[in-house]
């Protein structure tokens, strides 16, 4: 399985990776200290100087950065180069508060696009492939990242952006796209539409999909793979660190290899900040190793996951991260119980429903109301009221078992749940808590 874009790094012996990381870290810390007043103040406050950092073993001495710091330093407080060296900005969707703006020099753009190129090659992509990118383009990193990666690999790139599903399918069929890049929820939607239009998996030219930017489950992966007759791969990233491609899945599909020559990963106890050993669940923290414009040091992602350095059959030596178990930002607190929307998705797919759902939260008489709308889509389903009610009840029971609290399940008409064609709108929270 020799699918590498930059074999010399991707298969580097672990000891050499660590040595390379140490060398880069020393330089990166000095660069940040010299150029970013905000972080210099944080280091000074902690009594740490760049001279104290001799290698990755000293990483724990550095202070953490969090989203709150990015907000406080908005818009340019963490920029580490003169503005005239910046060639690009990207920005987060800003759904959880103030936007984050990330800056890139040409070096940073190249580094990011190379990471995406590695992800494309890892799923079997070559210059002969036709790569359809339907992540949003613009400020969102999804479109530009995979677009750049696809260029670097030499694929014929279709810069579709998200939405207009009819057109997506027309281009897919007319140009015989072989790799699809988008959010998993949009992939599922395209798959459903293809099925409705009468396309069978063998009629679909795609061989692989690179899906990320939102949480998804193994069940959803299987459902997409089955509908479209493809292999569905996960990709991970965040704007603060660069964008998609911080880590990516290889053909083994057992976790995402972190591009360790650029990004140093740790997992910590989210409460104490203590560094955890590999193999235990913790909050993922990234340190950039060779970025110029926006080099985050010990950035707390809020993603909970496990790191593992088990040998991978693909030959890559980069450490793997398991699919994040949930971003603390996605977590809902309903009647005092922590709920991740992905848990609902798991139940739906297990019970034979499509992963189209919407959670509506409201507050009546000081109690949270928790409604889950699910599309009722079975072919030739039952038509006896008591049987349908029983179905609703069964689904409700399964969700209660999974979540620990009881939602009210509503079976909605097929395709009646609003679909955003970029990131899915899974939660409508009408509770006015602030």
């Amino acid at each position: 399985m020799g699918n590498y874009y930059q074999e010399e790094f991707e298969t580097m012996p672990v000891e050499e990776i660590k040595k390379l990381q140490s060398e880069k870290l020393v330089k990166q810390v000095k660069h940040v200290y010299d150029n970013v007043e905000y972080y210099r103040n944080m280091m000074d406050e902690k009594g740490v100087k760049p001279e104290d950092i001799h290698g990755i073993e000293d990483l724990h001495k550095l202070p953490f950065l969090s989203k709150a710091d990015l907000r406080e330093a908005y818009p340019k407080g963490l920029l580490a180069v003169p503005q005239d060296d910046v060639v690009r900005i990207q920005s987060t969707s800003g759904t959880t508060g103030k936007r984050v703006i990330a800056y890139y020099t040409q070096h940073d753009v190249d580094l990011w696009e190379e990471c995406c190129a590695r992800a494309i090659v890892a799923v079997g992509g070559t210059k002969e492939d036709v790569c359809q990118v339907c992540y949003g383009y613009g400020l969102f990193t999804g479109g530009p990242g995979l677009n750049g990666g696809s260029h670097k690999v030499g694929c014929m790139t279709l810069p579709m952006s998200s939405g207009n599903t009819e057109r997506q399918i027309q281009f897919m069929m007319d140009l015989q796209s072989t790799i699809l890049c988008c959010t998993p929820s949009y992939a599922a939607y395209i798959g459903e539409t293809l099925k409705e239009q009468g396309y069978k998996p063998e009629d679909i030219p795609l061989k692989a999909g690179i899906f990320g930017a939102e949480p998804w489950t193994e069940e959803m992966r299987h459902s997409i793979e089955e509908t479209m007759g493809i292999k569905a791969y996960d990709i991970y990233g965040l704007t603060e660190i660069s964008g998609p491609g911080v880590s990516f899945e290889c053909q083994e599909q057992t976790g995402m290899h972190i591009n360790e020559d650029h990004f140093l990963a740790e997992t910590i106890d989210p409460d104490t900040g203590e560094v955890l050993p590999e193999g235990s669940v913790g909050e993922l923290v990234f340190t950039c190793l060779d970025k110029e414009a926006f080099p985050m040091l010990r950035y707390r992602t809020r993603d909970l996951c496990i790191l593992s350095r088990e040998k991978c059959s693909c030959g890559r030596t980069f450490i793997k991260m398991k699919k994040p178990q949930g971003r603390s930002d996605d977590m809902l607190i309903i009647r005092g119980v922590n709920v991740f929307p992905s848990q609902i998705e798991t139940v739906l797919l297990k019970e034979g429903y499509t992963p189209n759902y919407q959670i509506v939260l409201d507050r009546e008489n000081n109690t949270d109301t928790f409604d889950v709308y699910v599309e009722y889509t079975p072919e030739d389903g039952d038509d006896v009221v008591k049987n349908i009610t029983a179905r609703e009840k069964k689904l409700q029971e399964r969700m209660k078992t999974m979540l620990g609290i009881n939602p009210k399940v509503h079976l909605a008409e097929p395709k009646s749940i609003t679909r955003s064609e970029g990131k899915a709108v899974r939660v409508i929270d009408r509770r006015k808590l602030h």
Partner: protein
């Protein structure tokens, strides 16, 4: 034997019913029967139509979940106590009747009834044995 029936799952909200009839009118499908079971949350609209496939496609296209199945149908003399007799026969056999409704009949002086049971053939055999006329698609 038995008669084809369509069942439409619809949320219980304003304007849903007219959406179904509009979809059928637009493709020139004639309705032979209609029966609605409503709950607070949703309703099931059951109907017999002149063209099952056309109706199914038209209803699906406007976003409904439509299922097709066969129900037993029987012609009953239009006289007091006749329906009771039929239901008693079914009850005596221990057969569970999920729902029942009448079908338009402009051909004869009999009352046509649709019966939703688990085993159409068993009910049809039971009633045919007692001299009732069992209906097929051609009779509707």
């Amino acid at each position: 034997m038995a008669v084809k029936q369509l069942s439409v799952y619809a949320e219980n909200k304003k304007g849903v019913l007219v959406k179904t009839t509009a979809a059928l009118a637009a493709v020139g499908v004639d309705m032979k029967s209609i029966m609605i079971a409503d709950t607070e949350e949703f309703g099931i609209i059951r109907m017999m139509v002149s063209d099952v496939e056309a109706a199914k496609t038209a209803l699906k296209n406007v976003g409904f979940n439509v299922s097709a199945r066969e129900v037993a149908a029987v012609a009953i003399p239009n006289e007091t106590g006749e329906l009771n007799r039929v239901l008693q026969l079914i009850a005596d056999e221990g057969i569970n009747l999920d729902y029942m409704y009448s079908i338009i009949n402009d051909q004869t002086d009999k009352a046509y009834m649709a019966l939703r049971v688990d085993d159409n053939a068993a009910v049809e055999a039971l009633l045919a044995d007692k001299g009732y006329q069992i209906l097929t698609d051609a009779d509707i």
